[in-house]
Amino acid sequence: MATEMGAQHTGEKEESAPQHRPSLPPVLRGMVWGGIAFALLNFFVIAIQRPEYGALVSEVSVSVGMGGALIGWLLGIGGYETWLLPWFGRPAAWREPEGWQRYFSFSTDHKVIGIQYLITATGTFLVAGMVAMAMRYNLMTPSLNLFPTSVAYESAVSIHGTLMLFAVSVVAIVGGFGNYFVPLMIGAKDMVFPRLNGISYWLIPFGVLTILLSPLLGGFVTGWTGYEPLAARSPSGQIFYYIGVFTLGLSSLLTAVNVIATTVFLRAPGVTWGRLPMFVWAMLVTSLLNLYWVPSIGTTFILGLLDRLVPTDFFGQGGLPLAWQSLFWLFGHPEVYIIMLPAWGIWLEVLPVFARKTLFAQRWALIGFIVIMLMSNLVWAHHMFTDMGNAEMIPFMLFTELISIPTGFMYLVALGTMWRSRIRLTTPMILVLMSLFNFLIGGLSGVFLADGPVNLAVHDSYFVVAHFHYTIIGGMVFAWLAGMYYWLPKITGHAINEVWGKINAVAIFIGFNATFGQMFLAGMHGMNRRIALYPAYLAHQNLWISISAFVLGAAFASTMVNFGIAWVRGRQVGANPWDAKTLEWKTASPPPKENFEEIPVVTEGFYGYGNAGAEPEIFVPRVAVAADPPAPPTGVSG
């Protein structure tokens, strides 16, 4: 049986292995295998359960079926050749397709994977954005306007929130830029675990589709937070929420393992901890948060699922509904920093390049990252003030308000860097400035929310909606767009149209602030969140919010068109169009396979611009490195 195994087993995918060319394109094969697995397991469970009225699906059968579908999908997409066969001692018989097709199959190239993440996150952003447009359309009048029932509207809210949180804001920068640029910025050829990386990406489409399919089982009404005991009364689509978010979390977890191992072990000579680029630091800290909070929430979600399927009673009548809330927010608040830390990383990369000044007080930004990471574990109950006594609020109030201090470090670093500089107002820089502005409003409104008396008044109102959209869209999405404008020339080798970039940025900025600025007011006037029907006196305001939201939607769409045009036929750019210093700019645009002609050797920090000379190193470098000549101040005018 093993006779054909003359070829040597080297663990490499090249040459030696007999090349199985899958008969179907990988995505199609994944769907077929996943579909078959689903059908088999589903009907197997149904045959055992024999539900009344001859139903063909039950919550149990669908859940089991989805488990099988996930495995079938992952094997079909390429896991069969790259994971299962090697697992049984056969060579990995997978030849990665060339050209555009490699984006639609299992890949081990961190740059391909980064692009896969970016495009998927963008697509999901657009889909979930369309859902938001539908919600706003419905809210133009106080009655049901588009959706047939309140449950349908609430399902739309839930799908929108769940996708935006779990499949966009924690995926776009971390999965997209993180995969693409962490190895480049530290001078590595790839991640430590490329195969793991490949499989981790393909969990995302599965998770997204699962959540999108929830209306098939009636949708779900709990929003992204899945509160009990509401979840117990939600339609059966709730199980897709648990399964989908679980799958997306698994992807974040595997990415986190990869990022941590890569940063620790694959830094090029001279990329000391003290010189590590701020974006990589941000990714590292984010990955640590992911590493210990994602498994926790994943387990919680399984418990929630069991509450529906078995049924156990962890969070229901006999259990503790508040345990769900605590478990959710123990993860949920760190999650908001998982969203924001990478965005700050982008701020700190973009600012010195366009201010042409050395990054100011770099070490304080790093201290801020780490203190935030630690403190974010101590504030979760500020989401639960309505469920506790006054005295219990005080520690959470205190910690939440304290966390704005290390957050403030980011602003000091940003302001210090821009102080008396001659800023080049390019699109990425403009977007970072806008992100700074928006996040200031978002963060300060958070301090208000953390204040017990205020919170009790505006909790669960549009004030909260405005707060987190200011932080997530205003902070993270603006930074993501800045990253796109900043790095897309590196990824594609094509410049983006700056004029349209600026027009779009301004349009988004206006649309965004008009939409969500008004939501603060609507919240204070008594507009509750997650409701399809509202009192008539709020109609005027809601109409204007909706109109602004449509402007915002159009501006986003227009930005995507600009990206698309640049990708296809933008002007060619060289290796370093922005005249930046981090390592990704030291190689061609787009970077060749394995990134660098030869592994770079770094002798100075990455942020020494202008005549100020380099900032002092954060840590005393190792002796071997200290022997290098000190960095001469670079003469870039600034």
Binding site: Q8, L253, I260, Y292, T299, I302, L306, V310, D313, L320
Partner: protein
């Protein structure tokens, strides 16, 4: 005989050569991942105390003893197999991996029996968390068993070397982690 099988095999190849630096890197990556595995059980144990306090309801107490013994025995055999791999003794490695798989399989059977005869109500707090923790652990054991069996099949084609037997080490580490978790779960579910 295992040895005969191995020598007849013309296609056994040494595992990919790794530098000590790479070995450290992959091993560290493995333990980074295991942090997340530990968190899963920490969460579950936390929920046990949160929901059921320190309640212990009477259940079948004989079977878990058998499970514990089987698991401890498999922990011993697995560590022997790891040492064999470290010395490049692939014959002994195969013997002990086979033995470990057998013990692991038996322990899973005992878990299944214990599960079926526990007689608790899953809709009550203690019962719910009882079945959940044991079930989670059993699922991980199933994965461990899969790892051992696939390792056994792999050793037909791959000879592990003192320099690179990470696949063996990883499997054994995972298994030993599960044994530690089992002991904690045993104490937490049956005694506290």
């Amino acid at each position: 005989m295992a040895s005969a099988r191995i020598s007849n095999e013309t296609s056994v190849h040494a595992a990919e050569a790794l530098t000590p630096e790479q070995v450290r890197m992959y091993a560290a990556g493995f333990w980074i991942f295991m942090v997340s595995e530990a968190i899963i059980f920490i969460t579950l144990f936390g929920v046990r105390f949160l929901l059921a306090g320190t309640t212990v309801l009477p259940t079948n107490r004989i079977i878990p003893i058998a499970t514990t013994v089987l698991l401890l025995a498999s922990g011993y055999t697995s560590s022997v197999s790891s040492r064999a791999a470290a010395q490049g003794e692939n014959v002994r490695l195969r013997q002990y991996v086979r033995l470990t798989s057998l013990l692991a399989f038996l322990s899973l059977i005992s878990v299944a029996i214990g599960w079926a005869t526990a007689g608790l109500d899953p809709a009550k707090q203690y019962g719910g968390i009882f079945y959940t923790i044991i079930g989670y652990h059993a699922f991980h054991e199933l994965v461990g068993l899969f790892l051992f069996v696939s390792l056994l099949i792999r050793t037909r084609r791959i000879a592990y070397t003192p320099q690179n037997h990470l696949a063996v080490q990883g499997t054994v580490w995972f298994w030993e982690f599960l044994i530690v978790v089992w002991i904690l779960a045993y104490i937490i579910l049956y005694f506290i």
